[in-house]
């Protein structure tokens, strides 16, 4: 474990290089690699190969290093199996394919060392689950294997130590790998960017700070400007170029851009030809940029460890301080930035807890193991529970997974005769045929991209407005299908640094034209953050608010704002929940400030609205941001609370996470999306491969239809359980909501006000950006229908 820039990657290879250079080279080729290196990014694997080549050649070690990624051509892959290199650099997905290979047992028999890079980033996702299962297999194929994890500083190093070595069932204490900690490194020089301007109470664009950021770019060699979302990246890029009188080379980098364009930006950066890159989390990890001398983080930091990672991208040398600025977008974000500054000062970490292995990933792995060789279920189970994320897996659950892989795991045994894996008379499970194995290989991996639509420039036909020639221009990148669905022809939006006009869809492509100069994009950049505020930072923000002595460190405008809140209402204690109720424009409002992140708040808002409805307070809508929620209703809530003192406590009682939650979750679009991801990972439906077109309505079945049918007829199916497990900890943050409700029991501070308080203004400003409660499909349809009537009557 070492801070970024300590050189841990090369250190990880040293034992292997020593062993390989000392070993006499036998006559026969080796049967498999001596050392395996796994990185979350294929670009990183390629980069490491380059960095290893120099010392190996320089010292004349004669060690062969090769990469194996999704880009490796087939002939090279075949050769790598026949004539393996000494050191093989690869990704978790490619490793999964390798261990599912028929030759895997032989190929990995000489493996002595496996190095897992950026382990802290891998273990927090389903990719980490997949990798843990592969590692368990490697430990079995090559007993005595040394696993080395390379990680940035994390909160719970013991979790990573367990991840690396085979686990044993309790009561034996969990085995752990040795820990080597590299301390120190120069302390980061991290500051809040104070532009002296008054910040808005909501919004994330940080428009006010753009000139200051531009000045920073001018004053530095190379600057990385991190933002939280793709749309924020587009916005920032656009604004910086508006100011770019010196025509500095400023580039844009995010996951939706065309891959070749991203590679060009990366190459230009590596060659030192750029002065700044505006980028999203796509550059959080990885490549050693060398000459970056400043990092600017626009928007809320969201987590202490995340911000430290980003800062570490600057000045990749141990002995010099990394320099970085935090740029808050609104007054609340100043608080969050201050909390992050304090956390960095104390080197506090808030990396997430260890994961419980996902069942859908396990299903994929079980099929892969059947592809490798016939398996004995007991032996495979023992191997799987030696992987830390699956250490608590029950035998029955494993059996359910095997049953799912074989025939879909349905109570109605409809698919016995089509089984993908079959149990022979010898008790071993085998894959049915080569076609099943082929399907496995096509669907391996845990990254399920949301369906994407290519964005292509089209030429408009002169004299025929609204018509364009398809397939004429180049592809600018991809946008999520969900985003594209909300566009109607004529809408303008920011993409790839330009204002584009949406002309329509042609097959699987969104056709766009360049909007005229000076056009403002009509579709607002959705500027919320997709990362939830970490529990740790949230607690620090609450602590700052609760402690007036801490306000000295805050910019004056924030301290003034908090003072105003204290005089108009109250500031909540560190562990308290502040609830305010007040009338405004004929409606009655409730605001609450749990500081648990937008996703948890949305769930909370929906549940509170249901309760208020049952209490006949007639809720109309709600809005949420990272810090709080606002709900508005027709009836007077203040009056009700005055008349019924226990009402508020009951409203926020923990039992709200019961039937209401279940009912709402099951209907939510988020849950359907989560289900789709589980279904793809577990191989229920096949991945859509880029380049492979949809061939008509009969070929694919919408996962929403599948979800609805399955939920009705077998609600406890493995994949529904998998989706619920994801919802609890992932996108919907249900677990966090539960922890919050527990924390605030008996600690609700309520103020009935006669008007909106300063604190409440911030969340009230979110109103209008959010969907209104009760606005179901039928309300939308009714509105469209009304327009037809209007036409008919006019």
């Amino acid at each position: 474990m070492a801070p970024t820039g300590a050189g841990k990657t090369l250190a990880g290879f040293l034992p292997s290089l020593v062993a390989l250079s000392g070993a006499p080279r036998g006559k026969g080729a080796r049967r498999g690699p001596h050392t395996l290196y796994v990185s979350p990014l294929k670009a990183l694997a390629v980069d490491i190969a380059r960095n290893l080549d120099a010392p190996i050649a320089g010292m004349g070690l004669g060690v062969r290093v090769e990469t194996r990624t999704g880009d490796t051509p087939a002939h090279k892959r075949t050769r790598q199996i026949a004539r393996p290199p000494d050191i093989l650099l690869t990704t978790p997905e490619q490793l999964a394919l390798l261990i599912a290979h028929r030759e895997a047992a032989d190929f990995f028999s000489e493996l002595r060392c496996v190095i897992l890079d950026e382990l802290h980033a891998l273990v927090t996702s389903k990719r980490g689950d997949l990798l843990s299962l592969a590692l368990a297999r490697l430990h079995r194929l090559s007993p005595g294997l040394t696993a080395i994890g390379l990680s940035a500083t994390v909160r719970e190093p013991d979790e990573l130590r367990k991840y690396l070595v085979p686990q044993t069932p309790p009561p034996v204490p969990a085995p752990m790998a040795d820990l080597v900690v590299v301390r120190g490194g120069a302390k980061a020089d991290l500051r809040l960017l104070d532009t002296g301007r008054t910040l808005p109470l909501a919004g994330h664009t940080a428009q006010h700070a753009m000139p200051a950021i531009y000045d920073l770019i001018r004053a530095h060699r190379t600057v990385l400007v991190f933002v939280n979302t793709r749309l924020q990246a587009e916005y920032t890029f656009q604004e910086l170029w508006r100011l770019n009188d010196d025509v500095l080379p400023i580039a844009l980098h995010h996951g939706s851009l065309d891959a070749s364009q991203r590679r060009r930006v990366e190459a230009a950066m590596a060659e030192g030809r750029l002065r700044a890159i505006v980028c999203t989390a796509t550059l959080d990890l990885g490549i050693d940029w060398g000459d970056v001398d400043l990092v600017v983080n626009v928007g809320a930091p969201k987590g202490a460890s995340r911000i430290m990672q980003r800062i570490g991208r600057a000045n990749h040398r141990m002995d010099e301080p990394s320099k970085a600025y935090l740029v808050p977008g609104n007054r609340f974000e100043i608080l969050e930035c201050q909390a992050a500054l304090d956390a960095v000062e104390e080197a506090a970490q808030d990396t997430p807890d260890a994961r419980l292995g996902a069942p859908d990933v396990l299903a994929q792995h079980v099929l892969g193991m059947a592809c490798a060789d016939a398996f004995d279920p007991v032996a495979l189970y023992d191997e799987i529970v030696s992987a830390a994320p699956y250490a608590t897996l029950a035998w029955e659950e494993f059996e359910a997974v095997v049953d799912y892989v074989a025939t879909g795991g349905y109570a109605l045994r409809a698919y016995e005769r089509f089984a993908k894996i079959l149990r022979g008379a010898d008790g071993l499970w085998r894959v049915r045929d080569a076609r099943v194995a082929q399907a496995y290989r096509m669907n391996v991996g845990t990254i399920v991209e949301s369906a994407k639509v290519k964005v292509r420039l089209a030429r408009s036909i002169r004299g025929k407005p609204g018509t364009v020639l398809p397939k004429t221009g180049r592809v600018l990148g991809e946008v999520e299908e969900d985003f594209c669905e909300t566009l109607t022809p004529g809408d303008t939006f920011l993409f790839a640094g330009e204002v584009l006009r949406f002309e329509g869809l042609s097959e699987d492509e969104a056709l766009v034209t360049r909007a005229g100069p000076g056009t403002d994009p009509a579709i607002p950049s959705y500027a919320g953050s997709k990362f939830p505020l970490s529990t740790y930072l949230a607690a620090r923000v609450r602590a700052i608010i609760a402690d007036p002595f801490a306000w000295d460190r805050l910019p004056r405008q924030v301290a003034d704002y908090l003072l105003l809140q204290r005089s108009r209402s109250v500031l909540p204690g560190e562990r308290d929940l502040l609830v305010e109720t007040f009338p405004r424009a004929g409606r009655h409002y409730l605001t609450a400030f749990p500081f648990e992140g937008r996703l948890a708040h949305q769930t909370l808002g929906m549940l509170l609205a249901r309760r208020l409805e049952r209490a006949r307070l007639r809720p109309l809508g709600f809005a949420a941001n990272d810090y709080g929620i606002a709900i508005w209703m027709n009836r007077d809530l203040s009056e009700r609370i005055a008349a019924e003192p226990g009402f508020l406590g009951e409203l926020f009682a923990q039992d709200m996470l019961g039937d209401d939650l279940e009912a709402w979750l099951d209907e939510s679009a988020m849950m359907k999306r989560t289900f789709r991801q589980c279904a793809v990972i577990a191989g229920l439906i096949e991945r859509r491969h880029p380049g492979l077109k949809k061939t008509g309505r009969q070929v694919t079945i919408s996962t929403d239809l599948i979800y609805d049918v399955l939920r009705k007829h077998q609600p406890d199916h493995l994949l529904l359980r998998a989706a619920r497990q994801d919802a609890a900890t992932g996108l919907l943050d249900v677990r966090r909501l539960g922890m919050m409700l527990e924390r605030i029991q008996g600690r609700i501070t309520h103020r009935a006000l006669d008007r909106v308080s300063p604190l409440s203004v911030s969340v009230m400003l979110e109103i209008g950006r959010e969907r209104v409660y009760g606005e179901g499909a039928d309300e939308i349809l009714a509105e469209a229908e009304a327009q037809l009537l209007e036409e008919a009557l006019s």
Partner: protein, 237 residues
């Protein structure tokens, strides 16, 4: 919340007149011809899930047939039709009937009990001629109405067809709603697919243009009622 909406069916199902006959557009996606006491449903695609398992090894939940039949059962109990017409593609493929679970088979028999049951041939199930009760036909004439699976080319007054699985999409304030729908221009009508796993084709697709040269109204199946939406308000996919 959505459930609440479904329960309060305060709206009466809309009625259209085609070739002088009154048609009721039922929220379940079926068409009720009260004068003939006939219920028409189209594109059931029974055993589509098992067809996927047999053909491509994808194990979709094998409950689509019973789900589709349950919806049909609800409509039959409510309307008590003298005749049920399945307007083609009732089975996803010719071997569908033999893959059917005994329970589902019994359900079909129960539905057929005491009524005239007509299987109109579709392109997916043209080869199915026996084994599931009822009678088989290529098309059916009821008064001024002509019931067939595939819409005929050119003008076809009084035609009721399926085959195209029409869906309408409404996009408003950053939200979209996509629902199955009936499509009609007052002369002919295309029915929505009834099957649980039947997909949908956007009514703005080119396939609908020759059928409705002068435009159409789509009747979208909402949660609580059927909504008549003009072509101008319908978005492309």
């Amino acid at each position: 919340m959505a459930l609440g909406l479904r329960l309060e069916k305060t709206h009466k199902a809309p009625t259209l007149t085609l070739a002088g006959e009154a048609l009721t557009l039922d929220l379940c996606g079926g068409l009720w011809l009260s004068a003939h006491r006939t219920l028409v449903v189209s594109d059931l695609h029974l055993e589509k899930g098992s067809a996927f398992a047999a053909r491509s090894g994808q194990f979709l939940p094998p409950y689509d047939t019973r789900e589709t039949l349950a919806c049909l059962h609800e409509a039959v109990v409510r309307l008590d039709p003298a005749r049920v017409v399945a307007l083609g593609d009732s089975f996803h493929d010719a071997r569908g009937p033999e893959r059917m679970e005994p329970g589902d088979r019994a359900m079909v028999a129960a539905l057929q009990e005491g009524r005239d049951w007509v299987w109109i041939a579709g392109n997916h199930d043209a080869a199915v001629h026996e084994g599931v009760g009822g009678r088989y036909a290529d098309s059916l004439t009821l008064g001024g109405l002509r019931l067939r699976h595939e819409p005929a080319a050119g003008a076809a007054p009084g035609e009721i067809a399926g085959h195209l699985h029409p869906c309408g999409k409404v996009a408003m304030r950053g939200r979209t709603v996509r629902r199955r729908c009936f499509v009609s221009d007052g002369s002919r009508l295309v029915m929505p697919a009834f099957g649980a796993y039947a997909g949908g084709l956007n009514v703005r697709d080119r396939a609908f243009e020759p059928l409705f040269p002068a435009g159409f109204t789509a009747h979208l199946l909402g949660d609580g009622r059927v909504f008549a939406i003009g072509r101008a308000m319908l978005a492309r996919d």
